[in-house]
Symmetry: C2
Subunit: 192 residues, 2 copies
């Protein structure tokens, strides 16, 4: 379901109205900073300088707005292309890199919004398209699709528990150590 109607635009693309871009920008920032539940449409509208009803008018619902502005797009793809024997550690290191705060914020917001079925389903679909299928295609042996799903499950779990194992205050050395340990566990599913 790429389009709900013909005149829709990517909210931050060229064709989008300034108002739409302002809403999308404010929504992304607030969703990333406070999470899905704590960021209200009224608050997003105020930050964007528009009327709350306009947000619904342009994006349909809070769920749809969230799905439209929060995502990880093609972030993983480049890191699936290197040597298959170290892709687990490279994926993990990329996800935990201190400079990728926004990627983690988006990913974390999605993982934590799993109580909303629509968000959960769209997230799984994104993971499948952008990570699971691409990774599975490079793997050999039995159950490559299942094993690739389990890799994505591990990444989801890492983000969910990130605060408990250091979080944004972790030193680069700590991040590297987590990437080494967790990456090896992930690798066990890619090249057992």
């Amino acid at each position: 379901m790429e389009h709900a109607s013909d005149d829709e635009q990517a909210p931050e693309a060229e064709g989008a109205t300034p108002t739409q871009r302002a809403i999308a920008l404010a929504a992304r920032e607030l969703f990333e900073a406070k999470g899905y539940g704590a960021a209200s449409i009224r608050e997003i509208a105020k930050a964007a300088g528009v009327d709350p009803a306009l947000v619904i008018r342009h994006f349909g619902s809070k769920d749809e707005l969230f799905a439209r502005v929060i995502g990880f797009d093609e972030h993983f793809a480049p890191h699936l292309d290197g040597p298959l024997g170290t892709v687990g550690e490279r994926l993990t290191a990329y996800l935990l890199d201190a400079s990728h705060t926004q990627l983690r914020a988006s990913f974390s917001a999605i993982v934590r919004a799993a109580d909303h079925e629509r968000v959960r389903v769209e997230f799984q679909d994104s993971l499948r398209r952008l990570l699971v299928e691409k990774l599975s295609a490079r793997m050999s042996g039995d159950d490559t699709l299942l094993r690739a799903w389990l890799v994505s499950a591990q990444l989801v779990g890492l983000i969910h528990s990130w605060d408990a194992v250091g979080g944004e205050s972790a030193t680069p050395e700590a991040r590297a150590q987590v990437a080494r340990l967790y990456g090896a566990a992930i690798q066990k599913l890619i090249t057992p």
Copy 2:
């Protein structure tokens, strides 16, 4: 924070009022069936046959009610005691066992309610007490506490993604296969 006041009782223990037990029972069922967000206090009260205000009166808030009636208690402990070399697969198999639907329902409800900070923090605390510290104590080598946290992160990720890799419709054989594969990945962090 075990007690908010001195006269509190475990909601299903002997000392609890019938009303409290009815609320706790209805809350547990609805939280497990519909998740945190979709189960409203008014609905829980109706199912328990009491006034919605009573739910707040007895349990303080929706967050506290959830934390009181949803949990996994000592479920993991027995499976941490066997041979250390296979604890990864045994933990996973236990979590995915077809007869442990309620455990999965509770675990899943907590994982999906992570958007609420209070729930998330209490969950991490439970995991630490009931899983991470006990597992870490049996492990050897460097970073045992960190590695045990990463094991818990893996289990969280598996539950979060459970629907995507089969879910409750999975055959016993499929569950066993997931337990074998994912258990091996978990084991990599316990006995590398």
